[in-house]
């Protein structure tokens, strides 16, 4: 089971020579990333990969509008991004359920912010709760849910808000291995059934190869794009089941290639 992802070959997101310099309280500065450029097509699943501390979260946060680039610019649908808004929904690694709201109200939250009528909210929430298989838990509170379920609430909440791009910062990083690959397959099927563009940060190579249509690889400190290209072994197709991906002929080579990239960066950092 595999389908072609390139339904529409138009550019969605452009990051253009973006740089970010953080200033600490004591006045010292740190260049988190320099001269980062890449672009994401509509409906594409773009994965940002690289050693820890290379600025992946920084890039994602700039796309979200939670940080402003020090240099360069970032455009969504041709418009420069200014501050966070509903068009770029973010899913964090840490749980972000609103504990005081039921699962259902959590999913409705964004729609309520954006003035969607109550009846419509209910329908949309029901639909996405069904997709993430949480219908049974719609009236539960987050404290009653497991980690994976909380993360599914966060994903449904973001999807229900119909953002133009979904940004995910190591969304499955805090989950145990089995839950993680369940979530990865769930994510693959969600993306297939909804028209969404995703930018996801991870440092899990297998996850990057399974989910990504494109991988942007960052070099270490200060971070910049080292390699950027489509995930070749899938022949521009999407794979829905993890074993299927592992069985494809080019998989091992692709994995080996990325591991070599990772290793080269790690050694550089280690000195």
């Amino acid at each position: 089971m595999a389908t072609n992802f390139n339904k529409n070959d138009s550019v969605k997101l452009v990051v253009e020579n973006a740089g970010k310099t953080y200033t600490h309280n004591n006045g010292s500065t740190i260049d988190a990333i320099v001269d980062v450029s890449f672009s994401v097509q509509r409906n594409e699943y773009c994965v940002l990969l690289g050693p820890s501390g290379c600025g992946k979260s920084t890039v994602l946060r700039m796309v979200a509008g939670l940080e402003t680039p020090t240099t360069g610019r970032i455009l969504l649908d041709g418009k420069i991004i200014e501050g966070p808004d509903r068009h770029r929904g973010m899913v964090f690694q840490n749980y972000t359920s609103f504990d005081w709201l039921t699962v259902n109200k959590n999913v409705e939250y964004g729609m309520k912010c954006n003035g969607v009528a109550a009846r419509e909210r209910e329908q949309i929430a029901a639909h996405f709760l069904d997709i993430v298989q949480l219908t049974k838990f719609k009236d539960a509170y987050p404290s009653q849910l497991s980690g994976g379920m909380k993360q599914r609430v966060a994903i449904a909440r973001t999807l229900a808000n119909k953002p133009s791009v979904i940004l995910m910062d190591e969304p499955f990083g805090a989950l145990d291995a089995e839950t993680r690959w369940n979530m990865q397959e769930l994510m693959a099927s969600i993306i297939e059934s909804t028209d969404t563009t995703v930018v996801m940060v991870t440092h899990d190579i297998e996850e990057a190869l399974f989910l990504g249509d494109r991988i942007v690889f960052f070099s270490g400190h200060p971070g910049t794009v080292m390699e950027d290209g489509p995930v070749e072994y899938k022949n521009r197709q999407r794979v829905m089941i993890k074993e299927e991906a592992l069985d494809l002929p080019g998989y091992i080579e692709a994995e080996r290639h990325i591991m070599a990239l990772m290793r080269s960066q790690r050694q550089e950092i280690g000195g």
């Binding site: 979200a64 509008g65 939670l66 966070p84 808004d85 509903r86 770029r88 929904g89 973010m90 964090f92 840490n94 972000t96 609103f98 504990d99 005081w100 939250y109 964004g110 912010c113 954006n114 509170y141 987050p142 404290s143 009653q144 849910l145 497991s146 966060a154 909440r157 973001t158 808000n161 953002p163 940004l167």
Partner: protein, 259 residues
């Protein structure tokens, strides 16, 4: 054993036995006349004193007045401290503006204001309520500010990327997220409020539990003084339980951990 839990029954037994030891020692000291009976009445005499204070005297009235003073001043402190604390924990400008003022006041012991409060506000309820207010409000502001700062930034950022306005983030994320801790802060500061109440009533009052104790002192009624202490202790405990109960009722979603 270091850091090894003990059974619930054992824990309760240990907890009860310290009180049994305490009262036995007290009783024995009285029986064998190791203490001056005028200064240390036997425990049962404290209870009979309490009974006659309530039935024959006007003690319930005093208790009522004390409770009203605590509740009145504490409500006032909350009305000021909750919004200010949340604003200071949310907006850097509010913190920079108000925190130097608030922290300075925290270092001034509230009882130091009693003479001036008496001059300004006369001898009615004014100075007592003011003392309790001053003693509590600045600590309450600081506690609530700190709890507000602890609201996780990811929650706020999630809300922003879902399309919430600044105002909506404040009302639908920061306020509900900090509210359970606001109640905890209130519980902690209400205990302090009782401390200042007793000071106010002992120094400058003719009504209330503290005033009753000072009257009893004049007639060497140590049993009545101890009855007063007992009542204050019980009231403090009851208010603490009330707040624990409110926390469970209002924030039930924090307690239903099933997994």
């Amino acid at each position: 054993m270091i850091r090894k839990p003990i059974s619930r029954t054992a824990s309760i037994l240990w907890g009860v036995s310290i009180w049994v030891i305490f009262f036995t020692a007290w009783e024995l000291a009285v029986i064998f006349e190791k203490v001056n009976l005028l200064l240390v009445p036997p425990p049962e005499k404290v209870l009979t004193a309490l009974y006659s204070l309530i039935v024959e005297g006007n003690f319930l009235n005093d208790i009522g007045i004390s409770i009203l003073r605590v509740i009145g001043s504490f409500l006032g402190a909350c009305v000021v401290a909750v919004p200010l604390g949340i604003l200071m924990g949310t907006f850097a400008t509010a913190e920079s503006f108000l925190n130097p003022f608030v922290s300075a006041w925290r270092y001034l012991p509230a009882p130091a204001f009693i003479p001036i409060l008496l001059m300004w506000l006369g001898t009615g309820e004014g100075p007592k309520l003011a003392l309790l207010f001053i003693g509590v409000v600045f600590f309450l502001i600081t506690l609530i500010m700190d709890y507000t700062r602890q609201v996780r930034i990811e929650l706020i950022e999630t809300s922003l990327t879902l399309g919430a306005s600044q105002k909506r983030v404040l009302w639908t994320v920061i306020v509900p997220a900090v509210l359970p801790n606001v109640v905890i802060a209130m519980r902690q500061m209400l205990a302090v409020s009782w401390t200042y109440l007793v000071i106010a009533e002992i120094v400058a009052s003719t009504t209330g539990i503290g005033a009753m104790m000072m009257r009893a002192r004049r007639f060497l009624h140590t049993d009545e003084i101890m009855a007063g202490i007992l009542v204050i202790g019980i009231l403090g405990l009851l208010f603490d339980l009330l707040f624990r109960w409110m926390h469970r009722v209002f924030f039930g979603y924090l307690y239903n951990n099933e997994r």
